[in-house]
Assembly symmetry: C2
Homo-oligomer: 196 residues x 2
């Protein structure tokens, strides 16, 4: 197995799906976390000045979604066939559109204007994909995408419990199902308490 | 070969990389184009109310980037190994960030504020990936990503010839190289004159 080193901030956010994938597969990795004070002095040494970055035997891969998909392929956490892989990719892009739509949703006004409508718009599409798999996960088995959804909706359920429960209860259930996977138990028991 | 049907507007934009991939591979597809008058009445019949959508033997795949990657895998237009595939995916995400950065760039003021700085920021990163492959394409051979870049920078070179020539001449060259591929000759000779 190559040597993996994840560079990210001391946050869950875009880094946590990567950590969950490693935890689920029991693959060791170095979890380097930068604080916002030191980041400006480190920024230039990373491709595109952004995090997360994953080092694989010293070679660098940036762009969170490219990293998720790479690990999905590498660890057998992708679709079971080319069509399922394509549909997971489609749903991943849709999750990204959802995240774009809810950017800066905090505050009551924005919550009404953006967050609730986004849940109402995207929720049924996410549900359709979940229902289609019949497994309770987004694919016929656990895939990289489940860790993305679980990570995001665990956080949202903390900040907006009522909206999540009312509009997308199936995503709260999905997160709980993913985070109850026995392979994650040890990692989660030691995980730092954070909501972003 | 499955039956392919592309649903998109009567534009190049997000649909053209898909058309170029089919043309390059000599794979027939139905090129359905909607005009903006009829679209509102069609919108609801598409997943997520968005285009492009690709039908593959009647099954629907939405999300342009998921479609590009699906066809890349299906037609052998992806990386030669898992690392090259990951790096192409990274560069594709970066191209997407670039497109986000230049949204609504028309008009002199926005041009100065957004378009030129985006070319200066992203250009060197694109160049690094091009240089790394050594082939003149983004991968060691032609990949799906080359059709995305060629399609975008062909359009930009029409609207902003000086900026493109000054800041990212290597991307203008890249587009020309891709669009000069002999496999595309017949398609391009019949293609409708459009710049978006």
């Amino acid at each position: 197995m190559p040597e993996f080193k994840l560079h990210y901030f001391d946050l869950r956010a875009r880094g946590e799906p990567i950590r969950l994938i490693f935890a689920y597969k029991g693959v060791p990795f170095e979890d380097v976390r930068y604080n916002f004070e030191e980041w400006p002095s480190k920024k230039e040494s990373f491709p595109f000045g952004q995090l997360p970055v994953l080092d694989v035997d010293g070679k660098r891969l940036a762009q969170s979604k490219a990293i998720y998909r790479y690990l999905g392929r590498k660890f057998g956490l992708n679709g079971q066939d080319e069509w399922e892989t394509a549909k997971l990719d489609e749903t991943g892009e849709l999750l990204n559109d959802f995240m774009d739509a809810i950017k800066e949703f905090l505050g009551d006004q924005l919550r009404k204007e953006k967050f609730i409508p986004a849940l109402e718009k995207f929720g049924p599409w996410f549900k359709r994909q979940l229902d289609a798999s019949g497994s309770g996960f987004f694919g016929k088995k656990v895939t990289f995408l489940d860790f993305g959804f679980a990570s995001i909706f665990e956080g949202l359920a903390h900040f907006e419990p009522e909206a999540i429960r009312e509009k997308v209860p199936f995503l709260e259930e999905h997160s709980k199902k993913v985070l109850a996977l026995p392979e994650l138990k040890e990692y989660l028991s030691k995980r730092k308490e954070q909501h972003v």
